[in-house]
């Protein structure tokens, strides 16, 4: 029997988010729904990275007064995935904005949001 920790729950939630995101991007027909599924996939990858950096019984990586350096380096959660994910959240916003702008241009040209109609290439 595996002991349930918050890290294991994080991995489960990340796997569910990634599966839901990929399935939504592949099987849904609406372009806005594809964008929402893309944000779900991005959230799943972020959660996977943060769950890798978790240490059982650790502390938040902030050096408080009264804590020695050796104890801090032994117990603090990994800082590198946190920095990577903080960058990825901010980049994800601009990526979503560009995707929304492209979908608006596609709607002006083709008059629909369905990907199956847009792929046929019939202009309005």
């Amino acid at each position: 029997m595996i002991e349930v920790t918050i890290q294991l729950l994080g991995f489960i939630a990340a796997a569910l988010l990634i599966v839901i995101g990929i399935a939504g991007m592949v099987f849904l027909d609406n372009m806005i729904k594809k964008i929402i599924a893309f944000t779900l996939l991005s959230d799943g990858v972020n959660l996977l990275l943060v769950a890798i950096g978790y240490i059982e019984g650790g502390v938040v990586p902030i050096l408080l007064p009264g804590m020695s350096i050796t104890e801090f380096t032994m117990r603090a959660a990994l800082v590198f995935p946190i920095g990577i994910v903080l960058t990825n959240i901010v980049i994800g916003v601009s990526t979503t904005a560009i995707l929304v702008a492209l979908v608006i241009m596609l709607y002006r040209r083709y008059g629909t949001l369905k990907a199956s109609v847009i792929l046929k290439g019939e202009r309005r």
């Binding site: 918050i6 569910l16 988010l17 729904k33 959660l47 938040v60 946190i82 629909t112």
Partner: protein
């Protein structure tokens, strides 16, 4: 008295269920604005999960960005195109 870690695990179960239900419900809506708000609800559950995984700065950033900024951008796009999903 409940320990801090066990209360985090209880909160983790609730957050896994909230993330999964929010994500699936966001992708099954016919109304696109409702779908955007449901993705925001999924994102606030994810912010609680970041808080439990010892990354509070990511929790604050995800709570602001995923709940206000991303649904706002998507809703702007919906207003420029069409609100309901066509058959």
């Amino acid at each position: 008295m409940i320990e801090l870690s066990s209360s985090f695990i209880i909160m983790g179960y609730v957050m896994v269920i909230a993330i999964t239900v929010g994500a699936i419900a966001a992708l099954l809506q016919k109304d696109l604005i409702r779908a955007a708000f449901l993705s925001g609800a999924e994102s606030i559950a994810l912010a609680f999960f970041f808080q439990a995984l010892l990354a509070p700065d990511l929790g604050l950033t995800q709570a602001i960005v995923g709940t206000v900024l991303l649904p706002g951008i998507i809703i702007l796009g919906i207003f420029k195109t069409r609100r309901t999903e066509e058959e």
